[in-house]
Amino acid sequence: MSHLKTALFDFHKASGAKLVPFAGYEMPVQYPLGIAGEHTHVRTKAGIFDVSHMGQFSIIGDESVCKQLEQIVPIDLSLLKLNQSKYSFLMNDKGGIDDDLIVTKLEDRISIVLNAGCKHNDIKQIKSVFKQPAEFVLHDQLSLIALQGPKAVSILESFIPGVSNLKFMNGGSFSFKGKSVYVTRSGYTGEDGFEVSIASELAQTFCETLLTNADVAMIGLGARDSLRLEAGLCLYGHDLNPEISPIEADLVFGITKHRRETCDFIGGSVVKDHLTNGIKRKRVGIQPEGTIIARENAKVFKADKEIGLVTSGGYGPSVSAAVAMGYVDFDCSEVGTSVELEVRGKKYPAKICLLPFYKKSYAK
């Protein structure tokens, strides 16, 4: 099976990237800087991520679009201001998460960024709840390029004036080389940063322009993973799946407050049950006590009883320690609880801890 390529594929190759299959695409996992070097670069300077494999999806129509979408996305879209973004989910009838996504309200449409591996099924699910007409567009001709890191704002401002006025989780239309681009102040690294939706034919020029600033480097999926893990952010298909509810995932903020009361969305009865009667398992941070690294699928024990599973784990270069997150039985989920992680058949001490491992303040 041949893999899809983003518009930057040749550019990644020419930049010395190591390419791997990911969600049906051939994507850069690392560049010559290496994962740890790229990770630190994003935490201290600014890094470019090609996230064009993600689905950029629009629903265009009248005011009925919001109400219809709210059947399957548990937020109140009427509370969103123009150009404001919100993190939420695509729900299924088991109360599980079919995808996690970012929704942005535009003048004539709702725009959604979907995970690459889920996007086609997501669109099918979304269409299935629409009873009134709307136009659905998957923007295959657009690339999505993120610039993340403490220097991202000053660097992007120098090439796209005005972006520094954006507040976190807000976007707007700007101009680059005379062409319109849509920029949101958002990202998935725990750093301040931007995601730029840009015509694919301009994608390489855009990257090359950013790279004229010596503080900018290309960053692969490897560092993207360690950055988001340190920031306590979930990776769909690992920390989230169709069997896990937003309450179990400790992501209740992805459901608008009054909709936690009404639970008037697909899977709402399960969510309501989890909110009223409690949950059996919960997503937590897990801090190994020594240097041992517990990766995905490592079992979690407490007093010889298996109580959970690591869903993401690795080494956090910015905290210089092993970090993990996973699901444990609710009665073992309190911060500070001593647990054990099984790695290569041996058990090692660890503690349930608060997320994130690495904290940064965003531009509010």
């Binding site: 996992v29 240097t291 080494y315």
Partner: protein, 126 residues
């Protein structure tokens, strides 16, 4: 002067008398990237050539380190456990993994010389 031999799994063994010092090659460390964890065998552990002997982890993933020769471990390198970055800094020196008392010296014949190993890496880029 000790003799150094190389395996297809990217380990090196430096032989002095019946003691072999074993580590991973510079090429292997370049493939792994920044190493953040190492586990070495305890003295007294008996290992069979080709068997799992140690563990090395980069930011990316965990990998097994195999022993290219059979024998009994006489020492694991505590220095790389305390500071795994040593393996990247000096893979074929201070970044050694363990020393083994070689029990089957004839196994050494199956290993490669430095020149042959370099050729092997060139022909098998990963």
């Amino acid at each position: 002067m000790s003799e150094v031999k190389y395996s297809k799994k990217h380990e090196w063994v430096s032989i002095e008398g019946d003691i072999g010092t074993i580590g991973i090659t510079k090429h292997a460390t370049e493939q792994l990237g920044d190493i953040v964890f190492a586990e070495v065998p305890d003295a007294g552990k008996v290992l069979t050539s080709g068997g799992e002997a140690a563990v090395v982890e980069s930011v990316k993933a965990a990998s097994d380190v195999y022993t290219p020769v059979s024998g009994e471990v006489v020492e694991g390198n505590a220095a790389i456990v305390a500071d795994p970055a040593l393996i990247n800094q000096d893979p074929e020196g201070a970044g050694w993994f363990f020393k083994i008392k070689i029990t089957s010296p004839d196994e050494l014949a199956a290993l490669m010389s430095k020149a042959d190993y370099e050729k092997f890496v060139e022909e098998n880029p990963s």
